[in-house]
Symmetry: C2
Subunit: 454 residues, 2 copies
């Protein structure tokens, strides 16, 4: 074991916990372009957005200039139940890899939702309650976001209806039961409760649903139900704002030991985890106060950054949501059944898309078996079964640590371990049984999706 002056886990005292969220857009010279109305094709106004989202969240969504937003006292209290999350020095992994690199990971899985999603769920539920709403709707694919939001709504005493992609509803009953335990109404999508759901069921009677369709259903239900609004767990600016708590805690913990990461790595689906982790570091980089290599990791089966187009596109399949300028594979792109459900989205946060397009971060895409090989290697030494999503970051962190072994450089590598894989063991089983697919879409597959971009 190496000399370890830095403890295995760096915790923050409650007094050291961040009390403000950081808005990375405030430091961007080129701001992410605005959302566009699907009908008028004009920038969405606050009034238009308030039909779908809570007023305060709309304010956060549209504010490109305020650097810090105070975290309300009630949310800070909730955060204290499961935060600060540990920043772990991966001594055992370093030893296994025999690398001079110093590896740290910020572990967001130590809460019952099993991932970082809770950080934004409680914020969005809080503002809904404060506005006097009675309930929320949302969609969930693999179930992390629905689980997190059901915990937040249960805590605050407001209703929640979750449209869960039908395939997941049937194949992942455990996440469904977690949501039920927290009192949420869980409806398989497409359902007969919305016009879009009815249309999909009529057209495709055997469909197992999709995230894009579930979003459309949840939005329709929210705008047609008195006292309800819709909430989304990723992609949006407001979500990246709330998730900045990940990066702010990480930076505070590293600062206690005068550590500066050379490389920062996170998995990227809609961008909530990566955007949160990198926020304060990207801020320093944009302000010229520090230089970091920042790497987004995505599945080769759904490569929005590495093979997508930077264009205005619909956020949902039903095309009732606003258009966002983002790296996209097209709203009709249907990703293969990769087990990293949280990375199976056709688009990417507008903020991260802009930062990537401006050269402030890199992106790589990796295949599924590579991901699980890294996950199992990590689990066996660090004693933690990571989510398939998070394992994308692990894979690249291991690769970078191996490069350090070759060059002899003692780089400091930080990655985000966004959640646990306890509900993904079916995927691990397939990996052990060597039946996991390494599908990569062909250029023709991608062309079909691109054709759908307006």
């Amino acid at each position: 074991m190496k000399e370890n002056k830095v403890p295995y886990k760096i915790y923050l005292d409650e007094s050291e916990m961040p009390e403000k969220w950081y808005n990375v857009r405030s430091d961007m010279t080129i701001k992410p372009p605005p959302l566009i109305h699907p009908g008028t094709r004009q920038p969405m106004t606050a009034a238009e957005l308030e039909g779908v989202f809570c007023a305060e969240l709309v304010r956060q969504e549209l504010d490109d200039n305020t650097a810090y937003f105070a975290i309300p006292e009630e949310i800070l209290s909730f955060y204290k139940m499961y935060r600060p999350s540990p920043l772990v020095r991966a001594y055992c992994l370093e030893e296994k890899l025999d690398t001079p690199a110093k590896i740290y990971y910020k572990f967001e899985g130590n809460n019952t939702s099993g991932s970082h999603k809770l950080n934004s769920a409680i914020a969005q539920a809080y503002y809904a309650k404060k506005q006097g709403l009675v309930g929320l709707t949302t969609e969930t694919g693999a179930g992390q976001w629905g689980t997190a939001l059901s915990m937040a709504c249960s805590y605050l005493g407001i209703d929640l209806e979750v449209f869960m992609v039908k395939g997941s509803y049937e194949q992942k009953p455990y996440r469904r039961e977690v949501m039920r335990t927290f009192g949420a109404k869980v409806t398989p999508s497409p359902s007969d409760q919305t016009g879009i759901g009815q249309k999909m069921r009529a057209e495709f009677p055997n469909t197992s649903g999709s995230l894009g369709c579930a979003i459309s259903e949840a939005v329709e239900k929210a705008v047609t139900t008195e006292g309800y609004r819709y909430v989304l767990g990723s992609v949006l600016n407001q979500v990246l704002l709330h998730q900045s708590i990940i990066g702010l805690e990480t930076k505070a913990a590293l600062d206690k030991f005068d550590i500066r990461p050379d490389i920062i790595i996170g998995c990227a689906g809609g961008g909530s985890n990566l955007g949160g982790l990198i926020a304060p570091f990207m801020g320093e980089k944009l302000r010229g106060e520090g230089d970091y290599r920042i790497i987004a990791v995505e599945p080769a089966s759904c490569p929005s950054l590495t093979r997508g187009k930077f264009a205005y596109d619909f956020c949902d399949t039903g095309m009732i949501c606003p258009l966002a300028k983002m790296y996209t594979l097209g709203s009709a792109f249907i990703p293969s059944p990769n087990h990293a459900g949280g990375l199976r989205y056709h688009g990417m946060s507008t903020t991260l898309s802009q930062l990537y397009d401006d050269g402030h971060m890199e992106a790589v895409a990796i295949t599924q078996n590579e991901v699980f090989t890294a996950a199992v290697e990590f689990a066996r030494v660090e004693g933690l079964i990571p989510a398939p999503e998070s394992s994308h970051a692990i894979k690249v962190a291991i690769d970078e640590a191996k490069k350090c072994k070759e060059t002899g450089e003692a780089k400091t590598i930080l990655f985000g371990l966004s959640g646990t894989g306890y509900f993904d063991l079916g995927a691990y089983q397939q990996y052990h049984d060597e039946t996991l697919s390494d599908y990569i879409p062909s250029d023709e597959d991608l062309a079909k999706g691109f054709a759908n971009i307006p």
Copy 2:
């Protein structure tokens, strides 16, 4: 929200972590009676035990007098990966119950094995490795112990074969996959790999197995394989010794804020969790330095303390293991399929049995629906889905807090939250669907089990 000078979670710094285990037997005036050889019916000697267990563990098993055992450096290092576990002030539960009681719980579920079992698993694997053994065998029912041991063996690089009760192997594939991820060989029991397994399969071709049979198989495999020993996750003195880390950390954390619990509550199956939590408090009680009400909670379907006999009995179904003097329902007692798999054992730790018989602690038995009602109530306010086992303690903690509301007493209640329920959501589903059994064995049912006690 109440004034909260005590933080939500009391952590210990690494420097404050206990470096010794505490042996409660050292403070017992009446020691637990020795294990008896199944053949000779004489007290087991160290030499006899060393055919089954590692030498150092035998020393710990037989030592009734040494108060403290130094925790080896390598085990302390491993503990640092997931310990100290948080001691949580249940502010939200207190508020929900509107009680003047102050409720604390020690949460042992924040590691991938999902429970406290890892505390002893790493110790037992460490001593095996130190002795130069190549592998271990064990049994697992619901899978917590097998998971924990597979993590420990993976970390130390020694082989592990787990005999998993066949019913669980088939119905709980997720825990099986966790063990495979950590490199363990998992065999459904009864198997064709042992004489006892072959006999069981011949007699009962359709059996789904039992914990007692899996123990017999694992022991047989260990004693007939060169360089192997058997390890057990509960009941034994050595296990209670290792698990004292739970209570020692709890006491250290409470002492930082000058808090003394009035009531200490834990679920009790074989006794590992309860014995560990109460150890230092029971020590004070036995030495006349403090008075605590200590409550063991068991399932009404498997009520060894509340309805069992205090007698010498076999620890396994195959009757090849030593006999222990314990509260027992008889080694042939087959508990109903209660979802708290970890509490489904016919006997109880000899140490806890003696302490109970001597009046140093109380015991209560509760039915399954009561348990899940408490679990869901707890989950919705504390944001954490507890294991069915742990929820037995929650139920009684809530009951005691409600009594405080009636009397106006601001008692301090401490309970052990031994693990998470992430792999038990099938049970939660049955609770939500109102199909959970509240079976309580009749006196006739118990008489059949008692008839088997030698």
